[in-house]
C-alpha cells in the first residue's frame, strides 16, 4: 500500500490528522470482504467444514466465544475519526446489541455478531476505511502506539507515521502470515512510555542521537501471558532508513528459529529468553547484513508523505492558560476534579488532551454504548478536529481540545455518563472480558473490576490514593495486562471455583517490571478487601510524592506480604 497525495485526497469534513485510504487500500479491503463473504457462504452451505473455515474467519477477526461469535475490529495505532466512531456505533445498533468493547490492543470488539451478518459488517467497516484483518492469527497484529501521539509535550516525534509505515509493511506480509505465534508491535515517540513497548514482541522507541538524527531503539522479546518477560534492546539506534529492513531481519530470525512444536513456547520472548539477547542480536545483524535490503529501502519521500497525513490540525494562537477555564473550575468542583485528573498538558499553548474514562464506578471497563460512541464522535467534531484515540488502557482520548472549551465538553460528557474523573486512579482498571464473554477464560474479571471500583467509589479518596494501576486478567493469557499492574489480579480455577492471584509491583512503562505474587489465591469476595488492605498500608507508609509503585519498590514486597499475612491468618487466605 502507498499513501496518497493529500492534494487529491481531501473529503468534506475529513480530519486533517489521520491516514486516509488510497485506491489501493480501498480495493484491498473491499476484495477481502468479498472473499470472506464467499467463504461464509461456502461454510453455511457445507462446502467448508468448521476446521477448514476457522482459519478464514480468524484471518478476518471473527472468533467463536462463550455466548456468541465475537468480531475484533482493528483501530490502527488507536486513531479514529468521528465518522468511523459513528459507524462503529451504527454497527453496534444494527448487527450487535448496542454497545462495543474497547480493548487493550486499541481494538474494538463486538460480542454478539451473527456469522451470517459478518460480511455485511465488514463491508460497512470498509466504507469508512476500517477492517478486522490481522486482529487474529499468527501474524503481525494491529500496530499500537502512544495514545497521546502528536500532542504530548514530552514527544520527540509523532509515532503514528512510523506505525502507519509498519501497518503498510505488515498487512498481508506473505512471509509473515504464518508465524510461530501472534506478533505484537508498539511504538512510542515520547520521553514517557504510554504504549507499554517493553512488553511487546517488538517495541520501538523513537530516539534522537548526538547529531540530531531520528532513529529507533528496538526492543524485542517482551510479552505477558503464561511466561511474562520484559523486552531487551536488540538495536540501540536503528536509523530510520534501516527500520523496515531491521524489523524484517528480526521477523525472519523469529520465523526461522521460533518454536512451532509447542504453542506455549512459540512467542519470540521464549526464543530471546532461551537463546539470550546477544545470540539473537548476532542472528539479526547477520540476517540484516546478508539480506537483499533493496526491497525494504527507505523512501524518505514516502515517509514524509505518510507523515503529512498526521500534520498538526489548524490550531489557533491562544494564551497558554485560559481565564474561563479557571473561572469554571472555581464555580464547579466536579468539573475542577475532572480537569485535574483527566486533562493533560498539550504541546500547543491553550489546548489540552482529554482522557474520557470508559470506567464509570461499577461499570464494565472499556464498554461504550452506541449512544456514547455518537456523543464522543460529536464531541470530537465540536472540540477536537474530528479525531479520537483509543488508549491501551481502554479509554478514549480527545487530543485537541481548547482549554476554553473544556467546560462545554465536560457538560456534554457528563450528560452521557462519560465524565468519570478517574484517569490513572484506582478505579481506572484495565480488565479483559474474562469468563463473562471469553472462551479461554478460567474466571471472571469484569465483576472483580466492578467490585474494586465500587469499593473505592469515593472520588476524593481515589485522588488521595493517587496514581495506581490495577489490572485484571481472567486467564493466564494476560489480556488484562495483570503482570504490569502495580496491583495485578489473575483469575484462575482452583478446585472448580474461581480463584484470584494477586501480584504487586508491575509497571508497563520504561521502568517496566513484572509483578511479584503476593501469596495463595483468594476468592472473588476477598479481592476488594485485599486491595483495600494493600492501599491502606501504602497510604500509611508512603513518603511525599510517592505513587503506590514507588512505595512498594522502596519498602519491598516482603513488607506488603507481611501485612496481609497478619490480616489473613498466617497467609492462609491470601
Amino acid at each position: 500500500m502507498t499513501a496518497v497525495d493529500l492534494r487529491v485526497a481531501q473529503r468534506p469534513n475529513a480530519p486533517m490528522t489521520t491516514y486516509r485510504y488510497d485506491e489501493y487500500d480501498a480495493a484491498f479491503v473491499s476484495e477481502r470482504v468479498a472473499e470472506f463473504r464467499e467463504q461464509v457462504n461456502r461454510r453455511l452451505s457445507g462446502a467448508l467444514t468448521e476446521e477448514e473455515f476457522r482459519p478464514f474467519r480468524l484471518m478476518n477477526g471473527l472468533y467463536l466465544q462463550l455466548h456468541a461469535y465475537m468480531l475484533r475490529v482493528a483501530i490502527p495505532y488507536g486513531t479514529l475519526t468521528a465518522r468511523q466512531m459513528r459507524r462503529l456505533a451504527d454497527i453496534a445498533d444494527k448487527w450487535d446489541k448496542g454497545y462495543g468493547h474497547f480493548t487493550t490492543r486499541q481494538n474494538l470488539q463486538y460480542n454478539w455478531p451473527k456469522l451470517v451478518d459478518t460480511p455485511d459488517i465488514l463491508e460497512s467497516l470498509a466504507e469508512v476505511e476500517m477492517h478486522a484483518i490481522q486482529t487474529s492469527g499468527n501474524c503481525i497484529r494491529n500496530v499500537t502506539a502512544d495514545h497521546f501521539a502528536g500532542v504530548a509535550p514530552d514527544e520527540i516525534e509523532d509515532p503514528r507515521p512510523t506505525a502507519e509505515f509498519l501497518r503498510q509493511w505488515s498487512s498481508l506480509h506473505s512471509e509473515f502470515s504464518f508465524l510461530p505465534r501472534k506478533f505484537k508491535i508498539a511504538v512510542t515517540g515520547a520521553a514517557h512510555d504510554r504504549a507499554a513497548i517493553l512488553v511487546h514482541d517488538i517495541g520501538l522507541r523513537i530516539v534522537k542521537n548526538d547529531t540530531g538524527e531520528i532513529g529507533y531503539q528496538v526492543v524485542v522479546g517482551g510479552g505477558l501471558g503464561r511466561s511474562p518477560f520484559i523486552g531487551k534492546v536488540v538495536g540501540d539506534f536503528v536509523p530510520r532508513k534501516d527500520l523496515l529492513a531491521f524489523l524484517e531481519a528480526i521477523l525472519r530470525v523469529y520465523n526461522r528459529f521460533g518454536r512451532r512444536d509447542n504453542k506455549y513456547k512459540a512467542r519470540v520472548k521464549i526464543l530471546v529468553h532461551e537463546k539470550g539477547i546477544d545470540e539473537i542480536r548476532a542472528a539479526v545483524e547477520a540476517e540484516f547484513a546478508a539480506m537483499d535490503r533493496s526491497a525494504f529501502a527507505h523512501d524518505p519521500e514516502e515517509f514524509e508523505r505518510i507523515a503529512a497525513f498526521f500534520a498538526p490540525p489548524p490550531y489557533e494562537s491562544l494564551p497558554a492558560t485560559s481565564v474561563s477555564l479557571r473561572a469554571a473550575k472555581l464555580e464547579t468542583p466536579a468539573f475542577a476534579n475532572f480537569v485535574d485528573v483527566n486533562v493533560g498538558a498539550h504541546k500547543i499553548p491553550g489546548y489540552a488532551i482529554v482522557t474520557v474514562s470508559l470506567k464509570p464506578i461499577g461499570g464494565v471497563p472499556g464498554d461504550a454504548t452506541s449512544e456514547q460512541m455518537r456523543v464522543l464522535a460529536d464531541a470530537s467534531e465540536r472540540f477536537g478536529f474530528g479525531e479520537l484515540r483509543v488508549s491501551h488502557e481502554q479509554n478514549i482520548i480527545l487530543p485537541h481540545v481548547k482549554q476554553d472549551d473544556l467546560f462545554a465538553l465536560w457538560s456534554m460528557l457528563d450528560a452521557a455518563g462519560l465524565a468519570t474523573a478517574n484517569a490513572g486512579l484506582v478505579s481506572d482498571i484495565i480488565s479483559c472480558p474474562g469468563l463473562d464473554y471469553c472462551s479461554l477464560a478460567t474466571a471472571r474479571s469484569i465483576p472483580i473490576a466492578q467490585a474494586i471500583s465500587k469499593r473505592f467509589s469515593d472520588m476524593s479518596r481515589q485522588r488521595r490514593i493517587g496514581k495506581l494501576g490495577v489490572k485484571i486478567s481472567g486467564c493466564i493469557n494476560a489480556c488484562g495486562h495483570h503482570h504490569v499492574g502495580a496491583i495485578g489480579i489473575l483469575g484462575l480455577e482452583k478446585k472448580g471455583q474461581e480463584s484470584y492471584q494477586i501480584t504487586l509491583g508491575g509497571d508497563p512503562t520504561f521502568s517496566a517490571s513484572i509483578g511479584e505474587i503476593l501469596g495463595p489465591g483468594v476468592t472473588a469476595e476477598q479481592v476488594p478487601d485485599v486491595v483495600e488492605h494493600l492501599v491502606d498500608y501504602y497510604l500509611a507508609e508512603r513518603e511525599e510524592g510517592e505513587a503506590f509503585i514507588d512505595t512498594w519498590r522502596r519498602i519491598g514486597h516482603a513488607r506488603f506480604k507481611d501485612v496481609l499475612r497478619r490480616e489473613g491468618e498466617d497467609g492462609a487466605d491470601i
Binding site: R43, L44, S45, G46, T49, E50, L64, Q65, L66, H67, A68, Y69, K97, W112, P113, K114, L115, V116, V364, L435, D436, Y437, R444, I446, P447, Q450, G496, Q497, E498
Partner: protein
C-alpha cells in the same frame, strides 16, 4: 473411557448465530432445561454421536458434554461455573443473553 460421575448434557454453538444450544429430544434447543440427559456412559456416547452428526451437517460447532445435576423438576443444571454462565449469559449484563429472554430460559 472416563469414569462417569454425573449426568451429562450435550452443549454446542449454533453455526449461524453462535448462540449456545443444547441437544434436546428432537433437535437443538436454546433452553438447557429441555436438554436430553445422559445418565450412563453409553447414553453420553450416543449424545456425542448425535453431536458429531450435526457437526457434519453444519448445524452446530464446538460440541461437548457437560456435567449436570438434576433439579426437583427434573431439569438439568450445569455443575461447572463456566457452563452455568453459558446457559444464562454474561453475569455483568443481565439484560443480555438467555437470562434476558433473548434465548429461552
Amino acid at each position: 473411557m472416563p469414569v462417569f460421575k454425573h449426568p451429562q448434557i450435550l452443549i454446542a454453538s449454533n453455526l449461524t448465530d453462535g448462540e449456545v444450544v443444547f441437544l434436546g429430544p428432537s433437535g437443538w434447543e436454546r433452553d438447557h432445561r429441555r436438554a436430553r440427559v445422559a445418565r450412563k456412559a453409553d447414553e453420553a456416547t450416543a449424545l456425542e454421536d448425535l453431536g458429531k452428526r450435526d457437526i457434519s451437517a453444519n448445524r452446530v460447532v464446538d460440541v461437548y458434554l457437560a456435567d449436570v445435576e438434576i433439579g426437583s423438576d427434573g431439569a438439568p443444571t450445569p455443575l461447572h461455573y463456566r457452563e452455568k454462565m453459558r446457559v444464562k449469559g454474561p453475569s455483568v449484563r443481565l439484560d443480555l443473553g438467555k437470562q434476558a429472554g433473548e434465548g429461552a430460559l
